[in-house]
Symmetry: C2
Subunit: 216 residues, 2 copies
């Protein structure tokens, strides 16, 4: 039986871009990550985690540690992040307008704090602190293989950068590796001390006004 004459050939051949994207997805999946819904990204950021920000400029990736971040909009998934000129990552974010937000479990706390103590101007922090770059799908900066969550982001609004170094980012792809979550994120107390997560309290049934948030 022959193809219908109007069947577009492109429906049966993969574009080079699509093949490259699939190859990257295979690498990320092999590292234990699955895609996480974009409209659920607030579940990763709202708890107030210490994060790492991955950027890439001129093919040179960098990492920084950050505690000034938040969820702004559930859907579209808009996040806010402070990155200032004192951060070497600032120029990369300004020029490329993309980054990856990686969330480390508390098992990584020592290395994450050390990442915050040196500048990418001087050292390759990926090599120095033993973090593994994995290919992102929608942005150039790499995912951080050791973190349990990676959020690919593009700059959505930079109106408050000049005055406050506050960047609004839109998540474009999110990855979660439950196997790397351990005790989950940790929280900077703003003074060089950090809180681990303790008990989790389930109040889903009390959140009657916010049913959409508590659904699985």
């Amino acid at each position: 039986m022959t193809d219908h004459p109007h069947t577009p050939k492109t429906a049966r051949v993969q574009s080079p871009a699509r093949r490259a994207s699939n190859a990257k997805s295979d690498i990320v999946a092999a590292a234990g990550f699955s895609e996480f819904p974009l409209d659920r990204v607030h579940r990763l950021i709202e708890p107030g985690p210490v994060i790492m920000v991955s950027t890439s400029r001129g093919g040179r990736p960098n990492l920084m540690t950050n505690g000034f971040n938040m969820s702004v909009v559930h859907d579209p998934p808009i996040l806010a992040l402070v990155v200032g000129p004192w951060d070497y990552s600032y120029d990369a974010l300004r020029e490329t307008r993309e980054c990856v937000i990686a969330i480390p479990s508390i098992d990584l706390a020592t290395r994450v704090v050390d990442v915050g103590n040196v500048s990418g101007r001087d050292v390759d922090k990926w090599k120095r602190f033993g973090f593994t770059p994995l290919p992102a799908i929608t942005v150039a900066p790499p995912l951080v293989g050791e973190c349990f969550a990676n959020i690919e982001c593009r700059v959505a609004d930079d109106r408050l950068v000049a005055d406050y170094n506050l960047w609004l980012l839109e998540a474009t792809r999110v990855w979660l590796a439950e196997s790397k979550r351990g005790l989950g994120e940790f929280h900077h107390r703003g003074d060089g001390t950090f809180s681990a997560n303790g008990e989790t309290i389930d109040m889903k049934r009390r959140m009657t006004k916010w049913q959409a948030l508590v659904e699985d």
Copy 2:
């Protein structure tokens, strides 16, 4: 011995405004609160707490619960907060341009979640949920007596309110009651579950690049 003729009388009499401010401070102090340094307010917000926002409009105070907040600038103490038109507090914040951010300990979690489930349009949440208003010094909305921290705030920038309901606030007075801190703040996981704080890890000595932050 007589006063020097040029001694200004005002140096020895209290203005009515000053007397009123002192009277308010006495009430707040009697409730267990002490002033907390403005340039340390990030130590209260950076961990990612669930907060309550106290507003007052036409002499009518209201309370809401919020998980979308962050520290933006250490000094001046700028915070960011999402309050949208779906919140009854939105009009109060827009009209008065001031609020109090109160941080509840996890012992208050049930009442704090319940505050987030009803609208101030319908009920007086202070009365319904048993929260005690205390007089603020620099703003009209009351402090929340049961919370361990209260941050008096004025709107610093509203450029991103129209598009993202994102308010930048400047802290104008901060109060801390260690006696009410208990296990401290708690964190919304974005799905109706909440994390208590567990172990605290001290990495002050590793934060060599950020000495100013780790000083007492």
